[in-house]
Symmetry: C2
Subunit: 138 residues, 2 copies
DNA sequence: TCCTACATTAGACAATGTCTAAGTCAAGAT
DNA sequence: ATCTTGACTTAGACATTGTCTAATGTAGGA
């Protein structure tokens, strides 16, 4: 993720202070912030950053394939910087905690041809749901 | 689905006109309406039905396991009356059409124990994405 | 240093969903 | 058949999340 800014510059992006702080907030794996959470954390580094810029920047990062958009609950979308390694998500039904997980096998292959209805199937998203150790204990 | 009202009565539900029309709108498989779509169709049968009642009723049907909540796009949730037969969804990336599909094998089993992080994993939701024949053609 | 096209901003607006207080009614009790 | 009561419905305010616009600012090349 630290070379994200380099890649973006290579794509002709202007490196503004706002884009830098958004990238900084997303830095590190296992982070799944909502847009408003990204905005709140970015605003600690750059108080005058606006919501619109955060939304714009996140949308651009998704378009470029640098960040994954995840919606596990029908509420706010979450942004996952771990976009360069295929993975799925495991969500706690109680507290909402999200973990990146890696199922075995080919998840696309288990959809038979006669269940594809002529679609050109390109991708698959899997959400596992359960109760995390923390919530089990209490 | 036609015996849904019977099951609900058995659970102590009051059978109001509003609940009848919501059940009628959802009747039939392969239907994936948003709450507002359900409201619009219900209002054709019972013009004075309110949005709040539709939201309440859908929420209750979901709690009772009679209807599945599906959110394939991070926008409005959709309501799937085909809740008594396990299935997953195939979504057209262009027009948003949704089909019910049935992958083979045990989708839970492909998540190894060392990828469960102590969670008690209870369910799995899969969304396949691709382009439908209609959108491929045009 | 200057230009200018691209980026940012504040805030209005849109879409979806939730909540409240007041009125209505289904269904059991009489 | 009527009464009673607690569950149900309603209108509309409110909340959350996301999008858009017009004015202003600025990164980076000339």
């Amino acid at each position: 993720m630290s070379d994200l800014l380099e890649r973006l510059r290579g794509r002709g992006w202007r490196l503004t202070a706002q884009r830098r702080v958004v990238a900084e907030v997303l830095d590190g794996d296992h982070v799944h912030y909502t847009a408003d959470e990204v905005h709140a954390r970015a605003a600690e580094l750059l108080p005058e950053i606006s919501r619109a810029t955060v939304y714009n920047t996140l949308g651009e990062l998704v378009s470029l394939g640098e960040v994954m958009e995840v919606s596990t609950d029908g509420r706010a979308k979450r942004y996952d910087p771990n976009a360069h390694h295929a993975h799925q998500h495991l969500v706690c039904s109680q507290c909402g905690t999200i973990r990146d997980v890696h199922p075995t096998g080919d998840l696309l292959a288990v959809l038979p041809a006669d269940e594809r209805f002529g679609f050109q199937v390109a991708a698959v998203e899997v959400t596992y749901r359960g109760v995390c150790p923390n919530c089990s204990a209490s």
